[in-house]
């Protein structure tokens, strides 16, 4: 039981009488790649928002590493080691690629309130930043202004930035959305390469990616958990096929 890194108990969120997330009990094992899937509007993004406190839960509680984080602030959660990415790409567009990563590295340096120091003290972070960029294949773009990157590279940068925090747990919301086939593959590779020593919770509609990466799946429907298990079990469940996968699922994964 101790290897549960994240747990929710009866997590619930209502919007004006509409229950978007309904008594969800999520259990994520340490070291897993765990996928959250389900029809549109099932509440996946809302669960992410609840976990990272972008929304306060109506009721229920959240445990991270055994600690109750239900009332902890969003930025503090990130500092505790659970970091998210966004459904739309999130970078600092006017800053250079290197600076993007440095901003994240700076977080652990503890000098972020030091307005009296020269920014040169940040140069000691360059080496680590370049390593991270290298790991996602962006080293040659280090000095480029981020907004000039293509979409796929921005996603890669986002992941590098996230990794800079060296989080125990990563939350990825549709990491491959809007990407061409090549980029999808590249991101999938990347996720596999960083899973070492980490837990990853991801929302993804691309079944190919899910089937390839996920150790475990939780299917949400209308805010509640429909079923859980590995890909084979879940995709064989007729309720999942009816509500989410449709008949094309097999074809697509095979392709």
């Amino acid at each position: 039981m101790t290897d549960l890194i994240l747990q929710t108990r009866d997590l619930t969120r209502e919007f004006k009488g509409f229950t978007a997330v309904d008594k969800v009990n999520l259990n994520v094992h340490r070291g897993d790649i765990h996928a959250l899937i389900g029809p549109n509007g099932a509440g996946k993004t809302t669960v992410f928002n609840l976990l990272t406190k972008y929304l306060p839960p109506t009721t229920g509680s959240i445990y991270f590493n055994g600690e109750d984080i239900t009332r902890v602030e969003s930025s503090a959660i990130a500092r505790k080691g659970m970091v998210r990415s966004f459904q739309i790409s999130a970078v600092f567009p006017k800053l250079s690629v290197l600076d993007n990563v440095r901003i994240a590295l700076q977080q652990q340096q503890g000098n972020s309130f030091h307005f009296w120091k020269s920014a040169r003290v940040l140069e000691q972070l360059n080496e680590r930043a370049e390593q991270l960029l290298d790991s996602v294949g962006l080293l040659e773009f280090a000095r480029v202004t981020t907004q000039d990157l293509s979409y796929g590279r921005k996603r890669a940068l986002e992941i590098a930035t996230t990794l800079a925090l060296d989080p125990d747990m990563l939350l990825l919301d549709e990491p491959t959305q809007g990407m061409g086939h090549e980029d999808v593959d590249r991101i999938a590779e990347l996720i596999l390469s960083i899973r070492h020593n980490r837990t990853i919770l991801m929302v993804e509609h691309n079944l190919q990616v899910v089937s390839r990466l996920a150790d475990r799946l939780t299917v949400l429907q209308r805010g509640a958990i429909l079923t859980e298990g590995d890909y084979a079990t879940v995709s064989a469940d007729p309720r999942v096929r009816e509500a989410y996968l449709g008949v094309a699922a097999d074809q697509e994964v095979a392709a």
Binding site: T52, Y54, E73, S74, S75, A76, I77, A78, R79, V83, R84, S85, F86, A90, V91, F92, P93, K94, L95, D99, R102, I103, A104, Q106, Q107, Q109, N111, S112, F113, H114, F115, W116, K117, S118, A119, V121, L122, T145, T161, T162, L165
Partner: protein, 332 residues
């Protein structure tokens, strides 16, 4: 707000090759200036320039428009003035006290306002500063409409008599340089780096573990403190503090100075302040005085339509476009 901030981030940086030479020349000019120009005029300019730079720290570098900075300017002035009149402290301590008082007020304002964004932030700060205005209007020690008169300039460190304009000028110049230095350092510090990140993409900064409200709050307090420092110094220069400094027009004026000079640039507010002070002085008397509002109006309209980046911003943009190697106008 964001488009504006983005388009203006191209800041003026001195050519990297000779930054020291450039600064040395400017400093020399500042030291010699009172030989040519009436010192009180220069002092007024320096105080307003510091005020605008402090304001620009919020607008240009955090991307938040405070429409209540007059409250800090006037608090600096009144607190310093009150102490100079009633407690006989030395002027440098007076300025420090005014700065501290504004910082405290800034903390209070910030606590109430940094949660809000965009126009709502502007409106909350405006409303709070109107309450401060009302307080200064009614409080017995400020002299109401008459202003707080007869503030002594005192003796610097108890030694140097500041009632001499030239001595006072060098004191003001020192205060300005200190204030400007703090702002410059803040912008180019690890903290400034985070501010830029917040301006660029706030949710992302949060997700990286930064408690953005605290960063905004600290930036606001620094900005308020320096605005207060400007006000404190101004009160000493004129030996007077009045409601003009607390009125919302003053909050508007600092926006104008910043936009005119170029927001989000380090020197923009200084240039903007120079322009406004110069116009006000040139046109305040004589025949043209009757047209001062009309002339100002035309300047604003032209500025927006033709030089949107502000004087310094346009210059930086021009240099960046035509002489990319010069190091001007690089994104910060």
């Amino acid at each position: 707000m964001n488009t504006l901030v983005r388009s203006a981030t191209a800041g003026l940086r001195l050519p990297l090759s000779q930054p020291h030479l450039g600064s040395a020349l400017l400093l020399l000019a500042a030291l010699l200036a009172p030989a040519l120009i009436y010192p009180v005029f220069l002092m007024k300019f320096l105080c307003l320039a510091l005020f605008a730079c402090a304001f620009n720290l919020m607008l240009g570098f955090v991307g938040m428009l405070s429409f209540g900075h007059a409250a800090f300017l006037s608090t600096g002035g009144y607190v310093t003035g009150y102490l100079m009149i009633n407690s006989g402290i030395t002027p440098e301590l007076g300025v420090l006290a005014g700065t501290a008082a504004s910082a405290l007020l800034g903390f209070l304002f910030g606590k109430l306002s940094v949660k809000r964004e965009g126009i709502y932030f502007a409106m909350v700060t405006l409303a709070l500063s109107q309450l401060v205005f009302f307080f200064y209007l009614q409080a017995p020690f400020t002299g109401g409409e008459n202003g707080m008169q007869g503030i002594p300039r005192g003796h610097l460190f108890g030694l140097i008599d500041l009632s001499d304009n030239l001595a006072m000028y060098y004191f003001v110049l020192a205060v300005f340089l200190i204030g400007f230095g703090i702002i410059f350092r803040t912008i180019h510090s690890p903290f400034g780096q985070i501010l830029t990140a917040i301006r660029e993409n706030e949710p992302r900064a949060v997700s990286l573990g930064y408690n953005v409200r605290q960063y905004k709050l600290l930036a606001f307090v620094i900005s308020a403190a320096l605005a207060g420092m400007a006000g404190a110094t101004k009160a000493l220069v004129f030996e007077l503090e009045s409601l003009t400094d607390a009125h919302w027009h003053m909050s508007g004026e600092v926006v104008l100075m910043t936009l005119l000079g170029g927001m989000g640039t380090v020197f923009g507010p200084v240039v903007g302040a120079a322009i406004l002070v110069a116009i006000a002085t040139l046109f305040s008397g004589g025949e043209l005085g009757n047209y001062i509002h009309i002339i100002m109006g035309f300047i604003f309209v032209t500025c927006v339509l033709a030089f949107r980046r502000g004087v310094v911003g346009e210059f930086g943009h021009f240099m960046h476009k035509n002489f990319p190697a010069s190091g001007f106008g690089r994104p910060q």
